[in-house]
Amino acid sequence: MIAPPSAQSPPSAPSPPQAELPAQAVERTTRLIRQHRGRADALIEVLHQVQELYGYLPPGALAQVARELKLPLSRVHGVASFYHLFRLEAPTAHRCAVCLGTACFVKGGGELAARIEQRLGLRLDDAAGNGTWALEHVSCLGACGQAPVLVVDGRLEPRLPMDDPEALDRRLSALGLTAGADAADAPGGAS
C-alpha cells in the first residue's frame, strides 16, 4: 500500500533526478536481486522492494535492476510505468490518498477530495502537490464498510463525517491536513 516515505529521502524540494544513488542502497538492491536468484519473473517484486528503499524508483535504480536481472531497460521501465503503485518521481514528505471507489463515491468521496484540495492548496493526482503534501486517488481499498476513507501517510482513516462540515474540518486538522504555512508538524513545510 502507500508506505510512509523512508527516513533517508524526504527532500523539501524535488531532488535532481540523476543524483548519485547512495552506495548502501545500491548494495541492498544487488542483495535483494540475488535473493530472487536473478529471476526475471521476480521483476515486480524487486521493484516493490527497491521502491521501499528509495520511496520511489529513481532512474539509476531502474538501470541497475535491468542490468542485474539481465533485462532490457525498456522492459523494466515498461513494467514500472504500467502499474499505478510504482512512482517514478520522488514523493512529497507527506502523502494522502482519497478513495474514490463506488462506496466512497456514494458516501461523498468526491466532495472529500475537493475539500482536501482546497485545504491544502493542491490538485488531486498531482505528484508534486504543494511541496509538502500530495493528494492522490485510489480506486478501492476494500474498506467499503467504513466509507468514505482516506489514507494519510500509510494509515487508513475510516468514516470521515461528510454530513457535518465542522466535524470534518476538525478531523482533517487533527490529521495534519492543513495548508503549508501553519503545518506545525510538517518538518519540511514551506515557509
Binding site: M1, I44, A103, C140, C144, L156
Partner: protein, 551 residues
C-alpha cells in the same frame, strides 16, 4: 481439541475493525484482564477475522460456555459494537456478570443481519485466529486435504466438485468442476494452480476478508485443487492494496510449510506442492486471467486473445488452473459435507452460497453470506436495513450496483430479483465478484455511469483501441450529460459507441466497460433525457420511462 473455555472474547482483527482501532482495544482488554484479576482471568481473549458488521467496528463477540469455540452458537454469544479502549474494563465486567454498562452497544444476534446469513465459505471467519495454524487445525483445517490425499483419487475429488455445481465466484460463473477437468485432462506435463486474489472491483471486499480471516482455508482449497488437477506449484496473486491480507497469507504459508502441509510429500503422501504469493502493483486489469498470468511472470499486465485458454496454455506455457479466492475457499467444505450437500443449497442454476460485500447508502454495511437465490430485497432491505433515515416500500433505495465497473445498476422496482448468475445477467448487470453498493434517491445515475467510465479510462491497459480510445470518448460524452449540455443525438451516439466498445474490445474489461452506462440508460433513461438541453424534443415523451418508481 483445546479444553473448554467458559468465557471467550473474540476481537475482530480484520482491516475494517483495525482501522477503527481494534488493536488498541485488544491491548486494553489484555491489560484490563491482568489488572482486574479474579473472575476476569478466566476470560480468553482471542483475535479473529471479520465479524461481519464492518460499519460498526471495532466489534467483539463474547461467548459464554460455548466450549472451545467450535460452535459459538452452542452456548450463548453476544456481540458488542463500536467499542473504545476505555470500555475494556466494562466489557470484561459484562463478561464476568459484574455489570452491564455496555447494553447500548450490544447487538441483537436475532437481527436479520446475522440471523439470515448462512456461513459456508465464512464458517471459520470470525471464529479462528487467522495467525495461528494450531487454532485453524483445531477447527478442522487441512482435515479434508489429508483425507483426500489418503483416500481419494484426483478423479473422485473432481467428481465431488462437479456434483456440487460450484461455479466460479470471480464473476463469470464458469462451472468449476469443468474447468478442473479441462486442466487435468491436458497432455501429461507440469501444471500450475493460480488463485486470483486481485479483487479490484470497487465495492468488493469478500476476498480480502477471507484472506485476513481464514487464510488456511484458502491454502487447503488450493492444495486440494492442485491435487485434483495434478499441479505441483501454485501462486496466489494478491493486490498490493491489501497489506494485511498479504502479511497473514505469507504467515499462513510459512506455518503450513513448517507443519508439512505444503512442500514435498504432504501429510505422508507422495503429493508435492510449492505455493508462493505474488503481489500486484495496482492494475485492475490484472484481475483478467491472461493479464494476471503476464503479471505473475513479471511483465506488464496486458491480456491476450483467448483461445488458447489458460487451462490449455497458461503460466510459462503449461496448463494452468485459475480460480478465485471464494471458489477455492468453498472446496474444503464441499469435500467435507459432500457435493450433494452443497448442491442442495441455492437455486437450480446457481448452487451454494455467495458472499456479498454490502456497502454504500445502507444502514448495516459489512460482509454477508446468503444462499444463492436470496432476493436483492432481502439482502439490501432486511439484512442491510435500507437507507438510513428513509422509508417507503423500497426503503429509500434507488438502485443497487452489482458487479463493479463491469456490472450494472438494478433499480429499486426490481429488488425482488433472486440473486443468481442468470437473473442478474438478464437485468443487464452481473454477479461479479460480490460487491453490492446501495444507492439512495439523491444519487444521479449519469454521474454514476461517468464514475465507472472514468475508472475504466484509468484502468484500460491500452493494448486494444476500442477500450483505450472508446472509454475516453464515452467518458467525454457522459461529461456532457452530467454537465447538462447533451443533445438527443448524443444519446444515440452514446448507445452506439457502448455497443461498439462492448463488441470489439479484446478482454472483459473493455467488453464490460459500457455495462454501467447501458444499464443506467435502460432503467434511468429519463435522467439522461432530462440532462439534454432540449428534453422537450423527446418523442414520445414517456416512451423511455421504463416503469418509473412510484412511491
Amino acid at each position: 481439541m483445546a479444553s473448554p473455555t467458559p468465557l471467550q472474547l473474540r476481537c475482530c482483527a480484520a482491516s475494517g475493525c483495525r482501522s477503527a482501532g481494534s488493536e488498541a482495544l485488544q491491548a486494553a482488554l489484555l491489560a484490563a484482564r491482568d489488572q482486574l484479576g479474579g473472575a476476569a482471568e478466566a476470560v480468553t481473549i482471542k483475535p479473529v477475522g471479520c465479524l461481519r458488521l464492518c460499519g460498526r467496528g471495532p466489534l467483539v463477540a463474547l461467548d459464554r460456555s460455548g466450549g472451545d469455540g467450535q460452535e459459538p452458537s452452542a452456548g450463548s454469544t453476544e456481540l458488542y459494537a463500536e467499542l473504545t479502549p476505555e470500555q475494556a474494563p466494562a466489557l470484561l465486567a459484562a463478561a464476568t456478570g459484574l455489570g452491564d454498562e455496555l447494553a447500548a452497544q450490544r447487538l441483537d444476534p436475532a437481527h436479520p443481519f446475522f440471523a439470515l446469513q448462512k456461513a459456508v465459505v465464512l464458517e471459520g471467519c470470525g471464529v479462528v485466529n487467522p495467525e495461528s495454524i494450531d487454532d485453524a487445525l483445531a477447527h478442522g483445517s487441512y482435515a479434508q486435504l489429508k483425507r483426500v490425499l489418503l483416500e481419494c483419487t484426483p478423479e473422485q475429488v473432481r467428481d465431488q466438485v462437479k456434483r456440487s455445481g460450484l461455479r466460479g465466484r470471480g464473476g463469470a460463473g464458469y462451472p468449476t468442476g469443468l474447468k478442473w477437468d479441462t486442466v487435468a485432462l491436458q497432455p501429461p506435463g507440469p501444471r500450475t494452480v493460480v488463485c486470483n486474489a486481485d479483487e479490484g472491483d470497487p465495492g468488493a471486499f469478500m476476498d480480502r476478508s477471507v484472506l485476513e480471516s481464514d487464510p488456511h482455508r484458502l491454502i487447503e482449497g488450493m492444495a486440494i485443487a492442485a491435487y485434483a488437477v495434478g499441479a505441483d506449484q501454485g501462486y496466489v496473486y494478491v493486490r498490493a492494496e491489501y497489506p494485511l491480507a498479504i502479511e497473514r497469507l505469507r504467515l499462513a504459508l510459512k506455518q503450513a510449510r513448517a507443519k508439512g502441509l505444503l512442500g514435498a510429500g504432504i501429510a505422508g503422501s507422495s503429493f508435492n506442492l510449492r505455493l508462493e504469493v505474488r503481489v500486484g502493483a495496482g492494475a485492475y486489469v490484472c484481475g483478467e486471467e491472461t493479464a494476471l498470468l503476464a503479471s505473475i511472470q513479471g511483465q506488464r499486465g496486458t491480456p491476450r486473445p483467448r483461445p488458447p485458454f489458460p487451462a490449455q496454455v497458461g503460466l510459462w506455457g503449461a496448463p494452468t488452473l485459475i480460480n478465485n479466492v471464494e471458489t477455492l475457499a468453498s472446496i474444503p467444505v464441499i469435500l467435507r459435507e459432500g457435493g450433494d450437500w452443497y448442491a442442495a443449497i441455492g437455486t437450480e442454476g446457481s448452487k451454494g452460497t455467495k458472499v456479498f460485500a454490502l456497502s454504500g447508502a445502507v444502514a448495516n454495511t459489512g460482509l454477508v453470506e446468503v444462499p444463492m437465490g436470496t432476493s436483492l430485497r432481502t439482502v439490501v432491505q432486511t439484512i442491510g436495513g435500507g437507507v438510513p433515515g428513509a422509508d417507503g416500500p423500497n426503503g429509500g433505495v434507488k438502485a443497487v450496483q452489482t458487479g463493479g465497473p463491469s456490472g450494472g445498476c438494478i433499480p429499486a422496482h426490481l429488488l425482488d430479483t433472486p440473486v443468481d448468475y442468470e437473473s442478474l445477467r438478464d437485468l443487464g448487470s452481473m454477479m461479479g465478484s460480490g460487491g453490492l453498493v446501495v444507492m439512495g434517491e439523491t444519487t444521479s445515475m449519469p454521474e454514476v455511469a461517468r464514475h465507472f467510465m472514468r475508472f475504466s479510462v484509468n484502468e484500460s491497459c491500452g493494448k486494444c483501441v476500442p477500450c483505450r480510445a472508446g472509454t475516453v470518448q464515452l467518458a467525454q460524452m457522459l461529461d456532457r450529460f452530467v454537465e447538462r449540455r447533451a443533445s438527443l443525438a448524443d444519446l444515440e451516439r452514446l448507445e452506439a459507441l457502448c455497443r461498439m466498445v462492448g463488441a470489439t474490445s479484446l478482454c472483459g474489461l473493455g467488453q464490460a466497460a459500457p455495462n454501467p452506462v447501458l444499464s443506467t440508460l435502460r432503467y434511468f433513461r429519463q435522467e439522461y433525457q432530462a440532462a439534454c438541453r432540449e428534453p422537450g424534443q423527446c418523442e414520445p415523451p414517456d416512451a423511455c420511462l421504463l416503469q418509473e418508481v412510484t412511491p
